[in-house]
């Protein structure tokens, strides 16, 4: 087996950075969560009204710009779009809903495990089940069709959106009379200093762009092609994050009383199943989609807008879980999401001209 240099480096840097971000103020086992942080951004721009979940997370902006800068430096910025945008939007929305029932994206799932949170294990099994279901359909010829090269400005539209978020964040820093909202209590009020978060995001965005780091690809390619290239990065992430958590005293083994998590096995399983099925059909995990959006993929940008919409929907209609457990609306929504994904998986095929 060849060692996968870049994915392992990415996993190691991520594994060190995430617990350090928690040490500097981010919520427990949430050093860097693509879903939770996008949800906080949705709150900050008033797409939902939960007072404790509103902050424009600089990590996400950094991630997008890190990917953008790396792609320009290495000549890999490629403006492209046109592959089933509406389906990608809805997959993004359902992926977020599943993630918010579980309470974390696949990144945070591994970070929860590396912090000793054993309630993440049900999510991990759901994650694997979602990937495997997606693979069955990929093998049958599932496809959202091709994207096409497009004008540079189309590829830059999403980074421009990220820049607007950054401008809004800065407005809040220098002027209290701002349009955006920022939590004063609850998870979104817990954050590392802005500059540290931004730099962490930039570094991770750059290394994720270079390494193509993707939690879905790690398992998908291992199962499909016995290609462990990306899996090695995930293993590095889990080991290094666990060691860093132990060194920082933030490793607490157990199923209950874990930070921002619940121990409802069935819905941890099914929430993550929905999420990972949607990610598999869309071609990559939420972090990967953010990075792709940064390097000019307009369809990945649409997927991220779907994530924002899903976050708003999940909180406006009391679907998202809390440490107290799932809500009454969660099961029906997760089931509907799985049905939607299955319908897409069955019927979407590339039209060959």
């Amino acid at each position: 087996m060849k060692l996968a240099f870049l994915p392992i480096i990415a996993g190691v840097i991520f594994g060190v950075t995430a617990p350090i971000l928690v040490y500097f103020g981010n919520p427990g086992n949430m050093g860097m969560c693509a879903a939770c942080f996008t949800r906080d951004i949705a709150g900050a721009i008033s797409l939902h009204q939960i007072g404790t979940l509103q902050y424009i997370r600089p990590e996400i902006i950094g991630l997008i710009f890190g990917a953008l800068i790396a792609s320009f430096i290495f000549g890999e910025f490629r403006a492209r779009s046109g592959s089933a945008p509406i389906v990608r939007f809805m997959l993004g929305a359902f992926a977020m809903i599943g993630a918010l029932v579980f309470l974390g994206c696949p990144w945070r799932m591994w970070l929860r495990l590396s912090g000793g949170d054993l309630s993440a294990i049900a999510g991990i099994f759901g994650f694997l089940a979602g990937v495997i279901i997606g693979l069955v359909f990929l093998k049958r010829g599932f496809s959202l069709g091709r994207n096409r090269p497009t004008s540079k400005i189309v590829g830059l539209a999403f980074p421009i959106f990220a820049f607007i978020l950054f401008a809004l964040l800065m407005w809040g820093v220098f002027d209290n009379n701002t349009l955006i909202k920022e939590s004063t209590k609850g998870p979104a009020s817990q954050h590392a200093p802005l500059i540290i978060s931004l730099i962490a995001g930039l570094v991770l965005g750059g290394i994720f762009q270079r390494s193509r780091f993707c939690t879905i690809a790690a398992f998908r390619d291992s199962i499909l092609f016995k290609d462990t290239h990306m899996l090695q990065g995930i293993i590095a992430l889990i080991i290094v994050a666990a060691i860093t958590n132990m060194a920082l005293g933030s490793f607490h083994l157990g199923f209950i009383n874990q930070p921002i998590a619940h121990n409802d096995t069935i819905w941890n399983f099914l929430g993550m199943l929905l999420s990972s099925l949607a990610f598999t059909l869309a071609g990559g995990c939420p972090g990967r989609q953010l990075v792709l959006a940064g390097e000019g993929d307009g369809d990945a940008g649409v997927f991220v807008f779907g994530l924002l919409f899903g976050a708003a929907f999940a909180h406006n209609f009391a679907i998202a879980s809390s440490p107290a457990g799932i809500t009454a609306n969660a099961p029906i929504t997760v089931i509907l999401g799985i049905i939607f994904c299955l319908i897409v998986a069955i019927f979407a095929k590339e039209r060959r001209v």
Partner: protein, 73 residues
């Protein structure tokens, strides 16, 4: 020689379309793909299956010529 056009397809579709040709031991495969992730995956799987990878074009699209290597012994 087989030709395969997988430009613009999401991961892992490009490799999924290439794999059956590799499994059939096709000697020479010309493949058009989008540069980036899918092209790296294609090169990796080709090399893992004992193909020599020649880069014909490396611009907006990538064009590769995969040649099955002689297995000695």
């Amino acid at each position: 020689m087989e030709e395969l056009d997988v430009r613009g397809l999401s991961c892992p579709e490009p490799v999924l379309q290439l794999k059956p040709l590799i499994d059939k031991n096709v000697e020479t495969i010309k493949i058009l793909c989008s540069c980036g992730t899918s092209s790296e995956n294609i090169q990796r799987i080709a090399k893992n299956h004992n193909y020599e990878v020649n880069i014909l074009e490396n611009g907006e699209d990538c064009v590769y010529l995969l040649n099955k290597k002689e297995v000695l012994g």
